[in-house]
Amino acid sequence: MAEREQRRRNAPSRTETEVVEEPAPSSPRGEKLKADLDDLLDEIDEVLEDNAEEFVRNYVQKGGQ
């Protein structure tokens, strides 16, 4: 089993100059999404079922396709 190669994918969009891909969190898009998520998390307890344990336990389905 000497010849196990790691294949390289052929990414057409990639150019030589694109070396640094980090850090993601500072991208404006990532920041905006995070801010929106924070807003949702602030109010999520009003949306979540009061008794999570019972809610989850009662959700039983018959199998389907």
């Binding site: 990414a11 993601a24 991208s27 929106d36 998520l37 999570a52 989850v56 199998g63």
Partner: protein, 495 residues
């Protein structure tokens, strides 16, 4: 040769009813009957041409019951050309046949809207239990139900080449089609602990190819039931997908798959060099690998990641588009949109998956679950995380978490509202839907490939629709304008 990828999605929705007498079969019937009563739909489904036991590999199972025996239940056809019915104790919505992936996104969303309206209609009935609907694929306790895609294919494409060509795509497209799940519920992962996985559905698959849909589920389903002229067409029935709420995810799920199937028909798929040594195991590995970096074992002994396979398929698709054009997946505009999105999503997955949290279900849900964990410091077996997972898929506006996320849209609310009642214009769904809208009392039964009319006096008249690309608005709009009655329509059709 590649033919237009007419496509549709059938979704089995999760259903829960509360109350002492509640059961999922009656709850599903209540939903459908309540909706049908509200829109005054009387046309029933016709099982005449159904044969789900016929196998694409060329044989039929003896002694199997026709589907009617198990589904003597609510079953209706809508003016948008869709079928809405009870199947396996779930309400199921089958979109009408669509002409391109974007149109199918719209009709899939219209299905969600119809389920929401059904919940409202059911709640207004006296003495009915509260019925709640979820667009997901498992109950977290080992029971799974499906979201199936269907694609029109050329009968002359050898089924064996469809199988080898599509498997690498089905295994790896998960990285953008997965709907995400907290925990695991089968033995697919052995001793490995899985706190969060990419797919709702992947761990339920045990075989590579087969006819089953409820046991020993196969990656490629061989059901050979074209609902069209069997000499010319095949319908690839895809059972391996997750139900998506994110529009971008549905668009890519259908768009990329339609493109790969067209490539297979034109013998331009890179699949041979991408063959995996154990696709079922590989699919489980892809679902459990949130880093998207785990190498999968290829058939030739080398290793390759899911992302690398997707880049290979994408590159081949670009080459295909350049050489053959994109007419078969709905034209240049929508075809280029599939390719551009595909590339952007693979790039995002590679460099900054978090930036796709507004496009891809498993990443959206993951950001929600991780954010909640950070705030509350809960462990992975905390019930609140399982509740978050379930409520991501909850269709009740007051409880839906998906609808509170800033997800990117591809179709607008007005288009979705129109698709609740209007059929797609470029397939035979147009003819079905228009007949039902114009003459609901004359159409006795309907199914995918025929309509049966009762125009009084004479015997019932069956109108076959064996070509999904005929009966379009272009073909028949003038007929509907000029005919005043169903008998006149039948007369014109037979002359």
């Amino acid at each position: 040769m590649a033919i237009p990828k007419v496509c549709g999605i059938e979704t089995e929705y999760g259903v829960h009813a509360s109350g002492p007498d509640a059961n999922p079969v009656s709850a599903s019937s209540i939903l459908i009957n309540a909706y049908a009563a509200e829109v005054d739909r009387r046309t029933r489904w016709d099982f005449e041409d159904e044969s789900p036991e016929r196998d694409a590999r060329g044989y039929a199972r003896e002694g199997a019951l026709p589907p009617m025996v198990e589904t003597h239940l609510a079953n209706t056809v809508l003016t948008n050309g869709a079928r809405y019915y009870v199947d396996h104790a779930h309400p199921e919505y089958s979109t009408p046949e669509c002409y391109d992936p974007l149109e199918l996104v719209c009709h899939d969303k219209a299905g969600e809207e119809i389920l929401r309206r059904s919940m409202v209609a059911a709640a207004a009935l006296p003495n009915s239990p509260e019925v709640v609907v979820y667009k997901n694929n498992s109950d977290g306790k080992g029971n799974s139900y499906g979201c199936h895609e269907n694609y029109l294919m050329d009968r002359t494409a050898p089924f064996a080449s469809v199988v080898t060509g599509i498997i690498p795509h089905f295994v790896t497209r998960l990285i953008y089609t997965g709907a995400g799940k907290v925990g695991a519920e089968t033995t697919a992962f052995g001793a490995e602990t899985v706190h969060y996985q990419i797919s709702q559905r992947a761990e339920f698959f045990e075989e590579m190819v087969g006819l089953e849909t409820t046991l020993k589920r196969p990656i490629v389903n061989t059901r050979d039931e074209p609902h069209a002229d069997p000499k010319r067409f095949r319908r690839l029935h895809v059972i391996v997908g997750d139900a998506n709420l994110a529009e971008v995810a549905t668009f890519l799920k259908v768009g990329t798959t339609a493109l790969v199937l067209a490539m297979i028909e034109d013998e331009m798929t890179p699949a041979k060099e991408l063959a995996l040594s154990d696709p079922v195991r590989a699919m489980h590995q892809v679902s459990a690998d949130l880093t998207l970096s785990r190498p999968l074992r290829a058939a030739d002994g080398s290793t390759i990641t899911a992302l690398e396979i997707q880049w290979e398929i994408f590159a081949a698709a670009r080459r295909y588009a350049k050489e053959k054009g994109l007419d078969v997946i709905g034209g240049e505009q929508v075809g280029e949109m599939v390719l551009d999105r595909w590339e952007a999503v693979l790039t995002g997955l590679e460099s900054d998956p978090g930036s796709l949290a507004d496009q891809i279900d498993w990443l959206a849900k993951r950001s929600l679950v991780e954010g909640y964990r950070d705030r509350h410091g809960c462990s992975w077996d905390d019930h609140r995380l399982a509740a978050l997972d379930l409520q991501y898929h909850d269709l009740r506006p007051a409880r839906s978490l998906f609808s509170r996320l800033p997800m990117e849209r591809l179709v607008d609310d007005a288009a979705i509202a129109a698709a609740v009642t209007e059929p797609p214009r470029r397939t035979r769904a147009w003819f079905r839907g228009r007949c039902l809208a114009e003459w609901p009392d004359a159409v006795v039964t309907a199914n995918w490939d025929s309509l049966v009319f009762d125009v009084g006096g004479d015997p019932l008249r069956r109108v076959p629709m064996m070509d999904p690309l005929k009966g379009t608005a272009d073909h028949t709009a003038s007929l509907f304008e000029s005919c005043d009655s169903p008998s006149e329509l039948l007369e014109r059709l037979s002359s």
